[in-house]
Symmetry: C2
Subunit: 321 residues, 2 copies
């Protein structure tokens, strides 16, 4: 039975696509080098657990993100597992050439909704970034590879504070003009809230009804899965997450990163939503990722175990309530 | 503007009562002694931050829960701050006498929905526990103190697995017969899910419409605030939580405890719901609690800071997305 929000509330989608971004958004902030072999093992483990969509790496400057400098090598080693979609972040023509050569499944371009964040992240204005994407499109078209568009700081900016919905729509319109039909609203610094999710999704749908919308949340302020609930109530059926809750944000050193894939999948399954993912196998991978990183990560279900795991009564001293 | 779940979804309540259980459910699992003075400081800080309802302590056996053996002393030192409601857990007649002597605002009795958990936690059957409450009621009535009823393992049992809604209703009916009109559904081991929240709340309301219902969630599997969203969609306006996300569960050593009060308040405020609480002041107390406990706690907002806190552009190296 699909969960329905409140007595007359929206029914949730029956099936959700979970897009794993751990090897990109999760690993990119890890200072210590993770061997390509280890990254490959994580991707293979996740595919074995039933995940079918990955933002696997970035074709950005190895100076800017040294951890992802092995993107081409990683993709070559992984090959083209059947039924699996692999995408990569592509900031410019150079990245697009590399991504095309790697035979990527889709190129993900990214521009921030906020001018300051775009300046900081890409060292140019939003207008200049968007203009530069025509070149990326030509390369993608020539290679027969679809483009997708991510909108960073879609729910707020670490330099400007609130980001008006109009700024999100402006970038979305430009993406649409470039022929992009899959857009991800990125909660770059973990400031999304349920009302903002509803507002942005509704506005985007009203203006560009032929878009496929994905949501990318961070759990920086603990409400990542509450935002997923808001997205589900709007009928959104694509969510990006990181295995084990990998990731982080340079603005908040002690904060957690992306929403955890296994906690997301747990929530979806418990709400009666199909994902095609084996949660137990996914938790095994999450624990392996924690071992690779070498310190405790934020994912909860990998630690707590299945909901209905039972203990023998003489095993435990209880004082709960 | 109050958030509405989906286009035709339920509107959330305008105001929510946040019940702090950190000094009871949070502290009880701490092995190292927390001085009464420190506990008092936490309660006073929370009152100064605008919290008005507390499950402050337990009048249980000091052998069973040594950390809470200073309940009477703590309440005496706190006195009766105006507008503040202080409750305590009371397992039996002995506890009720002590609670009455301490001038508690309400006695909270507790029985598990699952027979095994009740046997383990209280060393007697649910029927025997419920029968024993007649004595507590007589003491409470004589002292003019209201009773409240908590139902432990309302969403699942660590020994039995699923708990049928009928078991929750059975305990609720017995409470109702004792004159209790405020019932808390306790997610003792963190197995509540949105559909179970909706099912249990709707069943309870249908059968006992004059009950005030409170929800008590743990974030053991990361979905505590998603469950709050489900509760809000059902119109529930009383939630129990622990400052800094204190608490834990003897069944899952690495798991987090109760939902964090400051993360809950952040979510509520962002959804346009009033609580009367000053979030910044609350986060100060949460950080102080972390210092008292001496290791990192699970609350997120106390670490990440306010949503719209902005940084200077030259302060931060960014590589987010």
């Amino acid at each position: 039975m699909i969960y329905q929000f409140g007595q007359n509330g929206a029914a949730f989608p029956r099936r959700v696509r979970v897009v794993e971004v751990g090897t990109r958004d999760g690993f990119q902030s890890q200072a210590e080098w993770i061997p390509t072999e280890a990254k490959l093992g994580v991707l293979k483990g996740l595919i074995a657990a039933g995940l079918r969509e990955f933002e696997a790496t970035s074709f950005v400057s190895p100076r800017a993100v040294p951890q992802l400098r092995d993107g081409a090598e990683l993709l070559a080693a992984l090959g083209h597992p059947p039924g699996v979609k692999l995408t990569a972040l592509v900031p410019n023509a150079k990245g697009a050439e590399a991504a095309a050569a790697a035979g990527i499944g889709a190129m993900v371009v990214f521009v921030s909704a906020s001018e300051s964040h775009n300046l900081k992240n890409l060292n140019r204005t939003r207008a200049a970034s968007l203009e530069g994407l025509a070149q990326v499109r030509d390369i993608a078209d020539a290679a027969g590879i679809p483009m997708q568009g991510a909108i960073a700081t879609s729910f707020g900016c670490p330099f400007e504070g609130e980001v008006p919905v109009e700024s999100v729509l402006m970038v979305a319109r430009a993406y649409h003009d470039l022929g992009i039909r899959h857009i991800t609203l990125g909660d770059t610094t973990g400031v999304a809230t349920p009302p903002l999710v509803a507002e942005r999704v509704r506005s985007l749908r009203a203006e560009l009804p032929d878009l496929e919308i994905a949501l990318h949340f961070h759990n920086t302020r603990g409400v990542g899965l509450a935002n997923v609930m808001a997205g589900l109530a709007e009928g959104i059926d694509i969510y990006e997450s990181s295995v084990a809750g990998l990731g982080g944000c340079p603005f908040v050193p002690r904060a957690t990163g992306n929403i955890s894939t296994e906690d997301l999948v747990y929530l979806l399954h418990e709400c009666g939503i199909e994902t095609g993912i084996d949660l137990d196998a996914l938790c095994d991978v999450a624990r392996a990722v924690e071992a690779i990183i070498g310190h405790e990560l934020a994912g909860q279900v990998m630690k707590a175990g299945p909901r209905l795991q039972t203990a023998a009564m003489d095993e435990v001293r209880t004082a709960c309530g």
